[in-house]
């Protein structure tokens, strides 16, 4: 009887650990995926404006590129959160 209870508890624990890992993976995926989408939306507007401005004035290419990649920080935050979730 006691052995049975111990075996069930062990199985439950293993299941819980497995689902915890699963949720961590889903969370990490969402963190990278959603921030990636957010970055994309933000870069669409900035990128079009940057290309437009560069078409008129070639000298601002560097600055325009810098502005375009600023939303990349969002996806980097997402990546950091994902890494923390997976490896902490």
């Amino acid at each position: 009887m006691a052995a049975e209870i111990i075996a069930t508890a062990a199985t439950d624990l293993a299941l819980m650990q497995a689902s915890q890992k699963g949720f961590q993976a889903i969370g990490a995926g969402l963190a990278v995926g959603l921030t990636g989408l957010g970055t994309g939306v933000a870069e669409m507007a900035i990128g079009s404006a940057a290309v437009g401005a560069t078409a008129e004035n070639k000298d601002i290419f560097g600055l325009a590129l810098l502005f375009t990649v600023i939303p990349e920080t969002i996806v980097i935050f997402g990546l950091v959160v994902a890494l923390l979730l997976l490896f902490s």
């Binding site: 669409m44 507007a45 990128g47 079009s48 290309v51 437009g52 401005a53 008129e56 004035n57």
Partner: protein, 350 residues
């Protein structure tokens, strides 16, 4: 916003380009500097700006004021055509519709020039082929001998129905002014129809309404200065804040203060209200017109800030570019005619 498969990106792209181009337009200080220059110095100064290509191209065939005039016209037409080429979706349709006003101006210039027996080259100098009628088509019209053949050549174009109907009457009355009024009325009617049918037209409609209001108010002021008693209804354009009957009633008010009060009752644009309030005293019609143009541009800039990715930033640039060319032409013509600096300054939209 209008139907563009790529989402708002093409709108953002083109509106940013218009903003950058607008920032490259000449500032007030530059006009003031040019006012102190001689004509060759002005030509050299303009050559260093966006007009270099046209001046270089035309310098072999033209000289002095003619070179400047034609280079400015060419540049304006080229600029407008280039803008049509880069605008996407319904913005292109709106821009093309707006630029059709140049067709009216070109046709009237050709007909008036021909009636006065001017040389083809002289008429060509002032044509700005920015609308539906391109340079090749206008050149074909210019070589026609009789005005009737010019009207016939317009068959199939937007202007043809009105021109065909009104031109015989214009010949009878020996004046193109009625035809000009009818062409502009038809132009605005078509603009309103286009704006009502197309997506995103509500913003375009706001501009059209402002343009009609300013034009009607300007006409009212002109009629007040004019000693000839004319029916105001003939000159007023329907579709703005004021109905044609209201404008006719306003034209009947003789007292200046009463007239301004009646106008201000219906106007909602704050900047226009401020300007109208200042016009209570005696002021030359040219200054009134310049004030009204400035109000229109200021209001358009406000609309462009409120709707940054719409037709408004494009229209602001088109209007400001037009006035840059007008200003440069006024400076050059004024210098050629040896007018005083203050007199020329009065004709500039700065």
């Amino acid at each position: 916003m209008a139907e563009v498969r790529a989402g708002p990106a093409p709108y953002i792209y083109v509106c940013t380009r218009m903003r950058v181009r607008k920032s490259k337009l000449l500032p007030k200080e530059e006009y003031l500097r040019m006012l102190n220059m001689s004509l060759p110095e002005i030509t050299r100064s303009i050559e260093e700006l966006e007009y270099k290509r046209e001046i270089d191209e035309l310098s072999a065939s033209f000289h002095g004021i003619d070179l400047l005039e034609i280079a400015l016209s060419w540049n304006l037409a080229k600029e407008y055509q280039a803008i049509i080429a880069i605008t996407p979706g319904t913005l292109k349709a709106f821009t093309q519709a707006y630029l059709r006003r140049w067709d009216i101006q070109n046709i009237l210039t050709i007909l008036r020039g021909k009636r006065q027996g001017l040389k083809i080259g002289k008429i060509k100098e002032v044509l700005i082929p920015a609308g539906e009628l391109d340079r090749v088509f206008l050149d074909r019209l210019l070589i026609e001998d009789s005005p009737d053949r010019i009207v016939e050549a317009l068959k199939g174009k937007n202007l043809y129905p009105v021109v065909a109907k009104e031109f015989p009457l214009a010949v009878q009355s020996n004046s193109l002014s009625h035809m000009e009024n009818e062409l502009y009325k038809d132009f605005y009617r078509n603009l309103i129809n286009d704006a009502n049918v197309m997506k995103g037209g509500d913003l375009f409609l706001k501009y059209i309404s402002l343009d009609i209001d300013i034009t009607n108010i300007r006409n009212l002021f002109r009629l007040r200065v004019d000693t000839v008693q004319e029916d105001a209804r003939e000159m007023m354009i329907p579709g703005g804040t004021f109905s044609v009957e209201e404008l006719h009633r306003l034209n009947g008010i003789t007292d200046q203060n009463e007239f301004i009060d009646a106008l201000m009752e219906k106007v909602r644009v704050k900047t226009l209200l401020a300007v109208l309030d200042k016009l209570r005293g005696e002021k030359p019609i040219r200054e009134i017109e310049i004030d009204l143009i400035k109000v229109q541009i200021e209001q358009m800039e406000k609309m462009a800030k409120l709707n940054p990715f719409s037709i408004h930033p494009i229209l602001v640039y088109l209007e400001k570019k037009k006035y840059e060319v007008f200003n440069l032409r006024a400076i050059a013509r004024g210098k050629e005619s040896k007018l005083s600096t203050d007199r020329i300054k009065g004709y500039l939209v700065m």
